[in-house]
Symmetry: C2
Subunit: 238 residues, 2 copies
């Protein structure tokens, strides 16, 4: 493994973030308007270069704060997606990009910063063509999150520390794009020990009307047994 550090055209390592949240029941993505070449004026996923002394995860949190003003990165769930390394991804130089899906409970307002002219929450189905290969990264993020809802408790990453089962169900419905039966959903979640635990006595009104719902906290378990399968898309396989 002889390797002269400076013999080759160096690689740049970047991170790209598909930041997802729910706003009024619909899945939204955080996009930035690029203020630099290439793709100036185009919309893109937030991201940037990894510095020499930080990991990709650290860089992801830093870039998010810098570009969008999201400093409340405490409740942020980072999920490494995959790494995109095809030569030619970036017209400037050889860039290897580590992509993340980032899930956020509430959706604070965002604003441009550093390299971003603007930053905005965009409904997932309103996202137009993005810069670089970011369309693909976003699609991969959506697919991965949708799949992980089935067999992990990832959904709670979209919820505040205390949440109602209705809110949790909204996560599934927004990401999957399907309606779920409330009674059955409720039973499945409660039957999976460790998924959620009740906050005794607490309750909250949803939408100003109706019976106040009991509050729950995320449980101590990460894997769901049995999984909470999405309704068969009729022909997905079987």
């Amino acid at each position: 493994m002889e390797y002269d550090k400076h013999a080759y055209e160096p690689f740049a390592v970047t991170v790209d973030l598909a930041v997802l949240t729910l706003r009024s029941g619909a899945l939204h993505v955080l996009l930035v308007e690029r203020g630099q070449e290439p793709y100036t004026g185009h919309w893109a996923l937030p991201g940037g270069f990894v510095q020499p002394d930080e990991s990709a995860e650290t860089a992801a949190r830093r870039e998010l704060a810098e570009e969008t003003g999201l400093s409340d990165v405490s409740g942020l769930h980072l999920e490494q997606l995959r790494t995109y390394s095809e030569p030619g991804r970036d017209p400037r130089m050889r860039v290897v990009s580590v992509a993340f899906a980032a899930l956020l409970p509430d959706a604070p307002d965002v604003h441009g910063g550093s390299d971003a002219a603007d930053a905005r929450w965009v409904p997932y189905d309103k996202v137009g063509p993005l810069a670089f290969d970011h369309d693909r990264i976003l699609a991969d993020a959506h697919e991965r999150v949708g799949a992980k809802l089935e067999y992990t408790c990832l959904a709670t990453a979209f919820c505040p520390p205390e949440f109602t089962l209705g809110e949790l169900q909204q996560v599934y419905e927004a990401v999957w794009g399907t309606a779920l039966d409330r009674p059955n959903f409720r039973r499945k979640v409660l039957a999976t020990e460790g998924f959620v635990e009740p906050v005794s006595g607490a309750s909250r009104l949803t939408g100003g009307r109706g019976k106040p719902a009991a509050l729950y906290r995320a449980g101590n378990v990460t894997t769901l047994h049995p999984p909470l399968l999405r309704p068969t898309p009729e022909g997905h396989s079987a």
Copy 2:
């Protein structure tokens, strides 16, 4: 995104491969004995530097051939695991490594090459401490493959083009480390349309004895609906 290509200490990008196969019913990993510093003489996962003109996937295939003589990389299934980017992973310089799990149907013999003094198939549970953070990468690979057996048809990547249901079941049992009920396994697999398709008329003897088994090919589907869940490890979550 101003970036002077040569301003920073450059990143090196490497690939690491957890190559898995089944030998006589047991899960084996391909390890190489390092012929270079650091960790000379230690066992490690095969891997190496990504060249300027290739993707991580291409580099993975090339390194595998170079280090172990595995040139039959046609039937090889490559599955990107994740990227390890913590500063200090490699004592020499800043290295970002893209890890892959690679699944192989048959286990051809291997030999050292280029940077590897030796290469060998090692039973999974006999793997001792490895160089760098390769223990963790291998554990991550095992976990990921085990999970993907449940809801994808990944298991067929361990099988030759035509295989028996008994062989397919061995894959599950070897990776999960549990025995499965043969009749039920068979029914589940056949009930999942697109998982396997029969090769008409063909059959093969297993182990020289018993009734010849019908042969199947991998189907055209990648996602399993419903999933083939592993038996509850009694306390995994519920």
